[in-house]
Amino acid sequence: MSRNLIIGGLLTALVLLAALLSFVWTPYAHTAMDIPQKLQPPNGTHWLGTDHFGRDILSLIMVGARTSIAVAFVAVGVGMLIGVPLGLWAAARNGGWIDELIMRGNDLVFAFPSLVIAILITAIFGAGAINAIIAIGIFNIPVFARVTRGGALPILAREFIMAARVSGKGDARIAFEHVLGNVANLLIVQATIQFSLGILAEAALSYVGLGAQPPTPSWGRMLADAQTLVSIAPHMALIPGCAIIITVLGLNLLGDGLRDRLDPKLRVSRV
């Protein structure tokens, strides 16, 4: 196993575990305010310190991990659910007008400034986790459509596809029964990368106040709270920042490691 895969897997597992554990246990209730204990740096009773309301930062980070993961995960799901069938369709009609239409549509979405549009969507339709998911998910669609099409084209030229066609299977059945399984590796790798981008996007949206709303904790919002207090309580900014970095780094390393392991093209060139 490659070093990337191990480190990435461990970091990702750490974050996932923290998020899962928060459903059954956090050191303190994440909403519990304790004003006399506010702005404490990390110490024995509050391992990662407290914020300006005296809330335990470790508990907030653990529950905040749920928000980040949920938003990014569902946004990737949205992108795959719409993007993958579009990509398969475009590949099946390679060179035809459907293909052209889908791919030009893709280019068009890529041309839009994603962060500005995400801010626009959440600002206009209301700040919150659901709209953040939609805003991030829209920009995942063309990514998955392109990856799927690129991966499916060489597969569609293979003999077993022709055999399936001769046996009377239609385009849709061939796409789902024979092509999808063969591009799954590509999709898993891409999903990992989009997941990490989603974590960053969610943090940015929450930071400007357009992500999950209080009292639901989110890492981006914790950073926004920390901004005016950064000179007297730097740990309030440092800790959520590190949480984001660990998550994104872990997912990116995991993606790289998985690509090395799963991508047949790379495997051949390495031999």
């Binding site: 068009l108 890529f110 041309a111 839009f112 400034p113 600002a123 930071y207 440092l238």
Partner: protein, 315 residues
Amino acid sequence: MLRYILKRLLSLVISLAVASLVIFFVIEIAPGDPATFMLGINSQPDTIAALRAELGLDVPQWQRYLNWVGGLLTGDFGTSYTYRTPVAQMISERLWVSLPLAIYALTLSTLIAFPTGIYAASRRGKAGDTAVMGATQLGVAIPNFWFAMMLVLLFAINLRWFSAGGFVGWDKGLGAGLWSLTLPAISLALPQAAILSRVMRSALLDVLGEDFMRTARAKGLTRKQALWRHGLRNAMIPVLTIIGLQFSFLLAGAIIIEQVFYLPGLGRLVFQSINARDLIVVESVVMLLVFTVIMVNFAVDLAYALVDPRLRSRT
């Protein structure tokens, strides 16, 4: 070649037309009538109607769309609902901050990415390569607005070298203006540099495996000479593409960084306009940004076709 250019030009025009339709109608269906928003919920219906007429909101949507596009084509971006000033003027004022900031950040990112990418490629698989690649992984994972906060903490609050935010204006001189854009430019440049360095490395590695590199070595060039004379030039195509895309990203992508540093740039203008339902400003700025990206892509496609004739037959 002419056929290729015409074909690309046609697709460019269609893209722009579709983009303008999408932008206009997506933003127009958004809930929140600008006139009602500006006057508040307790305003009288006839006051709202009067303001709607004044803002030109009382004509049918398709007619407003045609007016808007017609205006864009002649350089008239309309008039801001809230500021009552021409949008074109607002955009050009903000560009005086955003454009230099984008160029500054891109310059920094290129200055970091080129040497590190070239170094990593030339030390492939060795400790130096691993170190650079590890650093770029970290660079990609750091949210730029968090990095900005850390820079403010260190260089503005503790060391007091820079101010924590705001822009002094170009009338204070080029040096002072650039100085106040330095922290924002660094925060924007870091993740971009990490991406660009990785692209530089992999583009170089691709080129190093080519036959002409072996020929260059065979005719007596040292590794270094071959790398500088033949390798770099050929690796520049993907690198320049990414630089082009990063530039258009930086124009708008600074939206959060401008927020952190209270910079009066294009991103902040969009952000404020979205919150004030100043739709005409949002539409025009987004259209301008999309236009930039589409033009950059078009230029890159043409450059590719010039460099590599094989691409002309493909579309």
